[in-house]
């Protein structure tokens, strides 16, 4: 018997019982739709998080910190050693200084981070105003908006005023003393961070200050390819330092989202389980209603395998239709959610909507296959009963 005829007959049966077909596929569609909706939401949230940390350069960089308990400090020789490794694009150290910033009568403690502008670029530091300083700039700094807020200055524009900065240190009797004072510090850029009072300045300039440096706080290392990343990381770790790569962070985030996806998927599975019971019910009823028809077909020379194929294809068609409808249901669910989020975002000043669903084609294909797999499983038993039916079972009773 040709497959096309089996399909035709199966479709005919499904068409004949249109309402039942519709309700069954509807059940599957809701189940599959809920799963797709939840899983794509999990993927979307992950994409949002991972996407922001794993762009381009960030993937090729790693942060090298002193070894555990700072037994292994980072100094110039460390930098020299790392620079000698293969595949190193650059090494950027970071120092932290403490200082007091003065503007007129106002005074505040400020954390000064001395790094080259490349360091900030690798960290994907975003400016709300102005620019980053250059490596050879003097008496220029980039500050956090929190710093400007302390002085009552507008936080979204670069101020034209200059600050007096007193760099402080701790003397031998552990008293905080002013080490160096710079009178005219100008602000060239502002970073959005309301919670911190931080100023960034070029490392080269910091080195000219009369400051008693011991070691670097940490260094950023960039390699030329992801392939080199692991090798360099291992070499640095072997020398006693601790290393964090973006890949680690991504993996960490991914593992969290993997669980979120599992939980969301599990919720969807409950819906699918309910739908499966409905489908099993439909196919069993379909079998019971058609025992006579199956009997007749068998007496006319249909093989048990033909009958089996009728039922399995009927189930698979139901599964496929349910899967396709499920995709449509999920799509509408996503659109509706985005619409509601848009309306809510409109109510908030400056609110902008992020895309919280990520729907790769492969996921949809997987769910279609999944729907058909459910159909296969639920169709198996009714098909087996139909296959085993004795041709005279229904005819003899008449």
């Amino acid at each position: 018997m040709r497959l096309i005829d089996i399909l035709r007959i199966s479709i005919k049966v499904l068409q004949k019982n249109f309402l039942r077909t519709l309700l069954t596929t509807g059940g599957i569609a809701v189940g599959i739709g809920a799963m797709i909706y939840l899983v794509t939401m999990g993927l979307g949230l992950e994409e949002l998080t991972v996407g922001s940390i794993s762009k381009s350069d960030a993937l090729l960089t790693m942060d090298v910190n002193p070894g555990p308990n700072e037994i292994k400090p980072i100094d110039d020789s460390t930098i020299k050693t790392i620079k000698s490794f293969d595949g190193i694009v650059g090494v950027w150290p970071r120092r932290t200084l403490s200082a007091k910033a003065n503007l007129g009568e106002k005074k505040t403690d400020i954390t000064i981070i001395a790094v080259s502008p490349s360091f900030l670029q690798l960290e994907q530091t975003k400016l709300v105003s102005g620019r980053l300083y250059h490596d050879d700039d003097e008496q220029s700094m980039v500050v956090s908006s929190g710093f400007l807020k302390v002085f009552g200055l507008p936080t979204k524009s670069t101020p034209l005023v200059t600050f007096k900065v007193e760099f402080t240190g701790v003397n031998s009797v552990k008293e905080t003393v002013v080490i160096d004072t710079v009178n005219n510090f100008s602000v060239v850029g502002v970073i959005e961070d309301e919670s911190a009072v931080v100023g960034y300045l070029p490392l080269n300039y910091a080195d000219t200050l009369n400051y008693d440096y011991d070691n670097y706080e940490k260094i950023k290392v960039k390699v030329d390819s992801v392939k080199e990343l692991q090798k360099v990381k291992e070499a640095i770790v072997a020398r006693g330092f601790s290393v964090v790569t973006v890949v680690d962070k991504v993996e960490e985030v991914e593992s969290v989202f993997k669980w979120i996806r599992y939980i969301l998927g599990a919720l969807g599975i409950i819906a699918v389980a309910v739908a499966s019971i409905g489908m099993f019910n439909t196919l069993t009823i379909s079998f019971l209603e058609r025992t006579k028809e199956i009997s007749i077909m068998k007496t006319l020379g249909a093989t048990d395998h033909d009958i089996w194929r009728f039922f399995m294809w009927e189930a698979l068609i139901l599964g496929l239709l349910g899967g396709i409808m499920g995709i449509v249901v999920a799509f509408f669910g996503q659109q509706l959610t985005m619409l509601i989020m848009n309306i809510l975002a409109g109510l908030v000043e400056d609110g902008h909507v992020v895309k919280i669903f990520y729907t790769p084609m492969l996921v949809l294909v997987e769910f279609l296959v999944f729907a058909m797999a459910i159909a296969f499983v639920t169709g198996f038993y009714p098909a087996l009963r139909a296959r085993r039916l004795h041709p005279l079972d229904a005819i003899r009773n008449e």
Binding site: K16, E293, M297, T299, L300, G301, D306, L392
Partner: protein, 262 residues
């Protein structure tokens, strides 16, 4: 063509044991119009199903062209049903969701024929039986006689050499019964087909080339062989009387023109 030996069919066990066919022996030759006549409950339908291979003998054997059909595997049996025999039932047994045309063409679907070809062939047979105008109707939309014609058409679509017919006029009015009888007669005469029919309708005796009688699961070649101890109920007695009358009539007819109905 058919050789039935010591054929017995029983159902149940112990106190529920019931022998429906009891040690039956007969042969049917190719081209015969073989009638198995008996009252309802005599086991005639079961006997037909055994001949069709739809029932498995409890004992004994049914040989078709030298092959014991009991040993057919599922696929061989399906092929046997598709190619070698056509079955017509008292209740027609058309597929309710298929049109008359689709019903008639269904055996060709099982054969794997293409849609156009099988519909052409089904249409031809429907035309032959004068029901081509009903091709697109569902079985529920046509009369019993028309359904039975369609069922016969379906049984014939593969041009099987053997037709097994179970009480073809049981559910039909007189006019339709006559039409169906004529069709079966024509199939026998024109096609040289072996017709094996079980019925309680003695009208068919005049068409048959040979008749055996079945009472309580046992077969008898002549009505006179039926023992009076076989607890004949009213229906059986009536039937036996009809058989006798019909046979006398038959003999008269044969004497006038023996080829009239061939």
């Amino acid at each position: 063509m058919y050789k039935v030996e010591a054929l017995t069919k029983s159902y149940g066990e112990g106190s529920a044991y019931n022998e429906v066919i009891k040690d039956v022996n007969f042969t049917i030759n190719s081209g015969e119009y073989f009638l198995i006549i008996g009252p309802s409950g005599s086991g005639k339908s079961t006997l037909l199903y055994l001949l069709a291979g739809l029932e498995t003998p409890s004992r004994g054997s049914v040989h078709v062209r030298g092959q014991d059909i009991k040993f057919f595997d599922q696929n061989t049996m399906a092929t046997f049903h598709r190619i070698n025999i056509g079955i017509v039932y008292q209740s027609f047994h058309l597929l309710p969701s298929f049109t008359i045309l689709e019903n008639v063409a269904f055996p060709l679907v099982l054969q794997g024929l293409r849609t156009k070809k099988r519909e052409e062939r089904a249409m031809e047979v429907l035309q032959r039986f004068g029901i081509d105008a009903l091709a697109d109707h569902l079985p529920s939309q046509v009369s019993g006689g028309q359904q039975q014609k369609a069922a016969i058409a379906r049984a014939l679509i593969n041009m099987p050499p053997i037709l097994l017919i179970d009480e073809p006029t049981g559910n039909l009015d007189t006019k339709s019964s006559q039409e169906v009888m004529d069709i079966i007669e024509m199939l026998h005469k024109q096609g040289g087909r072996t017709i094996i029919m079980v019925t309680h309708n003695t009208e068919f005796i005049k068409y048959s080339t040979r008749t055996i009688h079945i009472i309580d699961g046992k077969v008898y070649d002549k009505p006179s062989d039926i023992p009076s101890s076989s607890s004949p109920d009213l229906e059986t007695m009536n039937l036996m009387e009809k058989i006798k009358a019909n046979q006398d009539e038959d003999i008269d007819e044969f004497m006038i023109n023996p080829f009239d109905k061939m």
